[in-house]
Amino acid sequence: MPLKSTWTSFYTILRKDVVRIFRIWPQTFLPSIVTSVLYFLVFGTIIGSQLGDFNGVSYIHFIIPGLVLLAVVTNAFTNTASTFFQAKFFSRNIDEILVSPTPPWVIIGGFVAGGMVRGILVGLLVLAVSVFFALPPLMHPFVILLFLILSSMIFALAGLVNGIYAKSFDGITIIPTFVLTPLIYLGGVFYSVASLPAIFKGFTLVNPIFYLVNGFRYGFLGFSDVSLSLSISVLLLLTTILIAINWYLLRTGLGLKQ
């Protein structure tokens, strides 16, 4: 497929998804904002006011980066998982793309870009809402941007794996509930890993959310439980692995074709 045609194909997949995201905004944008307001209110303002400082910052400042990231990863994941699965399972309109000459890497790019757009937009909205509770410092804006892109991309890729491979509606609800949610809550959104017993620290180090939260928190607050270069290395490795899995699934048709 020539480069210009490839671009058109990518743009078509992305445009269609973005139009859908904005058309159903009460489903795509509102829930995360409402949840975040509750988190800021309960954990940040009510409980947080009774807690001491964390590394020299108030508790609400400490949790803002994690809560923004929570919105980014859940929205990026849900978007690609549900969009692809619905096209595959309910109306079977994924065939429109599968019969076309669109190569697998363009399909991955289009769907993942859609997930990233939703994840980043919702993340920015949550960040905007956080201003009403506490003004978050922005120590390293480029680091924030880098981790915003990495986190939305990784979880859009993971959502796509889920959407391609899921064989029933349960298949796309089980992963967010039993895998994604525990990873988020045990990834250091609400606490510093330094406060954990040694045995739980080991589990945390294999949790990708831990590296995302800490990199993101470094961007805002200037400190982290783990070095920035290690976080970036782990996340780039994870991105590469997820791209390879998606490419393999689409190339072979595993989970898609009989």
Partner: protein, 258 residues
């Protein structure tokens, strides 16, 4: 840019086999050639393997072994190029019911790398030609059964394929609409488009198609020009007093009853 080698047959299938994961043997050594410009009927009872062949040719089903070429382009080694030649009207309605007909057609063009500036006038023309223009901005779910079929034809034609595959396109469509669809499709063959048709309306196949292949239990049991197949008819069969159908139907029953 799409290049179609018109010196090659539209479709060449050599020794194609397909065994599903369940162990069901759908195709056992099918070989078939469809000349360029032909109106070709692939007939067979339910479960004979017609849709499996179409699925393999269009990239929706993985073959077990064998070779398939579309205008000389191998679907395994050069799938993207092979797919540019094909337009598919599937057996089941498979578009997003929440989308508008206009968007469905324009997006389909996009997956083939056709920019919106070219796709939009093509979509407008197809909608007019197929009597759907009044419905262009209504949700696809509101269309009647016949309109949905016509929308699928419009979608399959937007990238101007040289090889159109119709898998039971008139199932559930009323007589008047069927006639207008056939007239439209005959017009396409006059312009050089090769058509592969599967249908259970054998009298229509008898009138429309130049060549025919009959498949039963995954194997081709007869193949040739329509007159060659009709010559297999025994005028003394069935016996006097028994129900007498069209010639092609009598041959079909005789070849597929075991």
């Amino acid at each position: 840019m799409k290049i179609t080698n018109m010196d090659e047959p539209a479709l060449t299938i050599n020794n194609l086999t397909k065994t599903y994961a369940s162990g069901t043997v759908a195709l056992s050594g099918v070989s078939l050639t469809i000349p360029t410009g032909d109106f070709f009927a692939l007939l067979g009872p339910n479960g004979a393997g017609k849709t499996t062949i179409i699925g393999i040719v269009t990239g929706l089903v993985n073959k077990t072994s064998g070779e398939v070429k579309v205008f000389g382009d191998d679907i395994t080694t050069n799938p993207e190029q092979a797919k540019t030649h094909i337009g598919l009207v599937g057996q089941e309605v498979n578009f997003n019911p929440f989308e508008k007909p206009f968007d469905i057609i324009v997006n389909q063009a996009g997956y083939y790398g056709i920019p919106r500036s070219i796709a939009i006038p093509r979509a407008e023309k197809l909608l007019k030609d197929l009597g759907l223009h009044e419905k262009r901005d209504q949700r696809a779910m509101t269309l009647s059964g016949g309109m949905k079929r016509r929308l699928m034809i419009a979608r399959a034609l937007v990238h101007e394929p040289k090889f159109l595959i119709l898998d039971e396109p008139t199932a559930g469509v009323d007589v008047e609409l069927r006639r207008s669809m056939w007239e439209y499709l005959k017009g396409l063959t006059a312009k050089g488009v090769t058509i592969l048709l599967t249908t259970h309306y054998l009298e229509e196949a008898e009138q429309l198609c130049k060549h025919v292949a009959i498949i039963n239990k995954g194997s081709i049991v007869a193949s040739g020009t329509m007159s060659e197949i009709l010559a297999m008819h025994d005028d003394n069969d069935p016996k006097d007093g028994a129900y007498r159908a069209g010639k092609l139907e009598e041959v079909f029953i005789k070849l597929t009853q075991n």
